[in-house]
């Protein structure tokens, strides 16, 4: 009986605790690191394939984090990876778009608007991959629009400086 009574306030405490938080720090950090790993795999994988297919060169890029929400309610972390390349126009614009859509789909990305001739946008898991194709310039974004985290983890990542991305040839 006493044990049963004692579990009531404990249950209420747990109710507010387990129901009310934005996630613990360890789980939050793991979520961000998972997204980072997936982004690295994307860059090392399908983005390299696109670069080869479109005969791109001169890769330059960076990675940064910022909060999704507001200062009083950060909500989580936005991860942005940007890369830009020079192109020499070995492919016509049409062929470049078609090739890119094919490569993304083969790699498991969902491309909702394959006929778009401004950019190719694919989604897979928490990531959005955007490839903007111009005759002399191709810009790629690998973004996690909002990874939900605890406030502390959101602020920790947002405080990190922008880092250069390494492109392996």
């Amino acid at each position: 009986m006493m044990r049963a009574l004692g579990t009531v306030p404990l249950t209420l405490l747990l109710a507010l605790g387990l129901g009310g938080c934005g996630g613990n720090d360890d789980d939050s950090r793991q979520a961000v690191e998972d997204a980072v790993r997936q982004a690295d795999e994307t860059i090392d994988g399908v983005v390299h394939q696109v670069a080869a297919a479109l005969h791109l060169a001169g890769a330059q890029g960076s990675r940064s984090f910022t909060i999704c929400g507001e200062s009083y309610a950060p909500r989580g972390v936005v991860m942005q990876n940007f890369l830009r390349f020079t192109a020499s126009g070995e492919l016509t614009q049409e062929n470049a778009f078609v090739a890119t859509v094919g490569l993304l789909r083969d790699d498991g990305w969902t491309v909702d608007d394959p006929a778009n001739r401004v950019s190719v946008v694919g989604t897979k898991g928490p990531l959005t991959l955007r490839v903007e194709i111009h005759p002399t310039l191709v810009q790629v974004g690998v973004t996690a629009p909002c990874i939900e985290t605890s406030d502390d983890i959101a602020e920790e990542y947002a405080d990190r400086p922008t880092a250069d991305l390494t492109w392996s040839s």
Binding site: R3, T7, L10, T11, L12, L13, L14, A15, L16, G17, L18, G19, G20, C21, G22, A57, G58, Q60, G61, S62, S64, T66, I67, C68, G69, E70, S71, Y72, A73, R75, V78, Q80, F82, L83, R84, T86, A87, S88, G89, E90, L91, T92, D113, N116, R117, V118, S119, V121, E132, H134, P135, T136, L137, Q139, G141, P145, C146, A158, P161, T162
Partner: protein, 598 residues
């Protein structure tokens, strides 16, 4: 057998080693140095030692004058270097655009050459020989013409680089600097400054006058008064960007030195913090290029790091609003200050890319925070970062003042707009929507207005507010959007609920958001994603036919919870989930072997 002479592939137009964005950085660095030198030169010209007399005073005056004169030589040399760098950047942008066209044509010509070669190789008789000969001849003409234009491009590129080198070499000695300072054609900066100050508040007049100035005059003004030029509504965005980046570089260098010397005042500390936030935010987008010009995608349109009680004023655009077909300007709300720039730019870029992907023309997307948004932490009044500025939130004074400043900014964009009139959309979020509302009521010259997460608008109907189309995004589980007076009441301190059916705005689909008390404010910051983002992009790009709608509050199908009901229901939902989770946890741990069993 007939031999058909198919032209060889056209070789590639060389990659640009000197790039527009590289020239921009050169210009920024030169301007920052010029600004710093002019600050010192101005100080040297004005210092005096009134308490000294006789020979000592004479020696002091003589030394100070000589110092000021020598600096004037450096100043004149830097002005010429900055002018040359600016011209170089413009020539590189034109070369970038030409290279884009040449490269696209090359790909088409080479593809046609490959096609013809393949068809010739597959031919089994001579029946198509006349056709092949005609096509080969046309391709040869196209290829030869393209090769000649590429050669011209290479010569023009080399000339641009040579001209820059010559210009810099022309001012790389002290004697040449002194000569430049004595040049009777040197811009009269004092007269130009008087004119510039007199035209502030008249963006159309300012734009017209600025266009009459030579490049040297514009650059001289920019480096003498970067704060004036960078924040002058009506001046071209690219010129404002140059001035603001120069001021930013100057602030970072100068104030960092003062910090290291232990001389920083409290006000300077805030300015340095704000400058650092802006530098870091720009750094996140340094690799993003404007595909039209090859220059940086981001433009610093407003930079006022000491304004608004130290919160700072900032506006950054992706793309160039002066040349874009579709321009949006978004205004954030409560607690926004310069430290919020990074997070808000991510939202702005998301909207920018979504609008661009509509395929309806070029786009520029501006983030504008040049008003004194109310401060503090609405959730935790014990937050050491500051108590909530209750007066600022509950009263409309800051919104009205913000609306006036926003109106001036939009007038400036209209004045500096080039070519066909841009389709312009104002976007206000949260308290920022109330500020935008006041600006709309004052006649803001926009085509569309998007109001998201609004705590209230100054009029009861959209028609009373503005002649522009008014679009409303309000998640029913966003507590801030339930503050306005509407169908089922509302606090109404900041005005009317624009999502109410009687307001008459176009309420677009946003989804309701999560129904848990700890997620309610997350809902308030979620308009730049998902369906809401898609709909905003449709409006911004002039693609209203694609917008999806939801019923206004109080209309059939527009049932919603009041704020107090929402808080009660969402708290119950949270506790309920927590009870379930807590109960599950206890059940697992009350079994034999669990921690609760003695």
């Amino acid at each position: 057998m007939t031999i058909i002479h198919v032209p060889a592939h056209v070789p590639a137009c060389p990659i640009m080693v000197s790039t527009p964005v590289g020239a921009q950085r050169l210009g920024t660095d030169l301007r920052a140095v010029a600004v710093a030198v002019k600050n010192v030169q101005g100080w040297a010209s004005s210092i005096s030692a009134p308490e000294w007399e006789g020979d000592t005073a004479d020696a002091h005056d003589h030394a100070a004058t000589r110092f000021a004169v020598r600096l004037d030589g450096a100043e004149a040399a830097l002005d010429r270097a900055v002018t040359a760098a600016d011209l170089f950047e413009e020539r590189l942008a034109a070369l970038f655009e030409r290279r884009t066209t040449l490269t696209a044509e090359r790909a088409e010509v080479n593809a046609d050459i490959d096609t013809l070669s393949t068809e010739i190789a597959a031919a089994t008789d001579e029946s198509r020989v006349p056709e092949f000969e005609r096509r080969a001849a046309r391709l040869t003409t196209r290829a030869d013409g393209l090769v000649a234009r590429i050669d011209t491009w290479v010569r023009d590129r080399d000339a641009a680089e040579a001209d820059l080198v010559a210009a810099l070499r022309g001012v790389d000695t002290v004697a040449e600097g002194v000569q430049a300072a004595a040049d009777p054609g040197r811009p009269d900066v004092a007269a130009l400054t008087t004119r510039l100050r007199g035209l502030r508040g008249d963006p159309t007049g300012l734009a017209a006058w600025w266009a009459t100035l030579s490049r040297a005059e514009q650059e001289a003004l920019t480096t003498e008064h970067p704060e004036l030029v960078g924040n002058a509504d009506g001046l071209p965005i690219t010129d404002r960007d140059e001035a603001n980046r120069a001021a930013l570089g100057r602030d970072l260098d100068y104030l960092t030195q003062r910090r290291d010397d232990g001389q920083l005042s409290a006000a300077e500390k805030r300015v340095l913090e704000n400058a650092t936030y802006v530098r870091d935010a720009l750094g996140e987008y340094a690799d993003q290029i404007d595909p039209e010009t090859g220059a940086a995608l981001a433009n610093v349109v407003v930079y006022q790091p000491g304004l608004h009680s130290g919160d700072g004023g900032i506006a950054i655009s992706f793309g160039n609003p002066d040349t874009a077909d579709h321009v949006s300007v978004n205004v954030p709300g409560l607690t926004s200050e310069t430290s919020s720039t990074s997070g808000n730019l991510a939202k702005t870029l998301a909207l920018h890319q979504a609008a661009l992907d509509e395929g309806k023309g070029t786009v520029a997307s501006v983030y504008w925070l040049d008003y004194d948004a109310p401060s503090g932490n609405p959730i935790n009044p014990f937050d050491p970062l500051g108590q909530l500025d209750f007066g600022g939130v509950a009263l409309t004074d800051k919104a009205e003042a913000g609306g006036e400043r926003f109106g001036d900014f939009i007038d400036g964009l209209r004045a500096s707009d080039e070519g066909d009139r841009a389709h312009l959309t104002a976007i206000g979020h949260s308290y920022g929507s109330t500020a935008v509302g006041y600006a709309l009521h004052d006649g803001l010259p926009v085509d569309d207005a998007i109001i998201i997460g609004s705590p209230g608008q100054p009029t009861g109907t959209a028609a009373e507010l503005t002649g522009a189309d008014v679009w409303v995004g309000s998640m029913d589980h966003d507590p801030v959007s339930l503050l306005g007076t509407g169908d089922r009441g509302g606090i109404g301190a900041l005005g009317h609920d624009p999502a109410d059916v009687d307001f008459g705005g176009h309420r677009f689909e946003t989804g309701d958001g999560a129904l848990r008390v700890e997620k309610l404010l997350d809902n308030h910051s979620s308009y730049f994603s998902g369906t809401s983002l898609d709909n905003m992009a449709h409006v911004v790009a002039g693609n209203e036919g694609e917008v999806s709608y939801q019923p206004g509050r109080g209309a059939p199908g527009g049932d919603y919870l009041t704020l107090s009901e929402l808080l009660a229901v969402s708290t119950t939902a949270t506790v309920g989930d927590g009870l379930l989770a807590g109960g599950t946890w206890l059940l697992e741990h009350l079994r034999p072997g669990g921690i609760m069993v003695p």
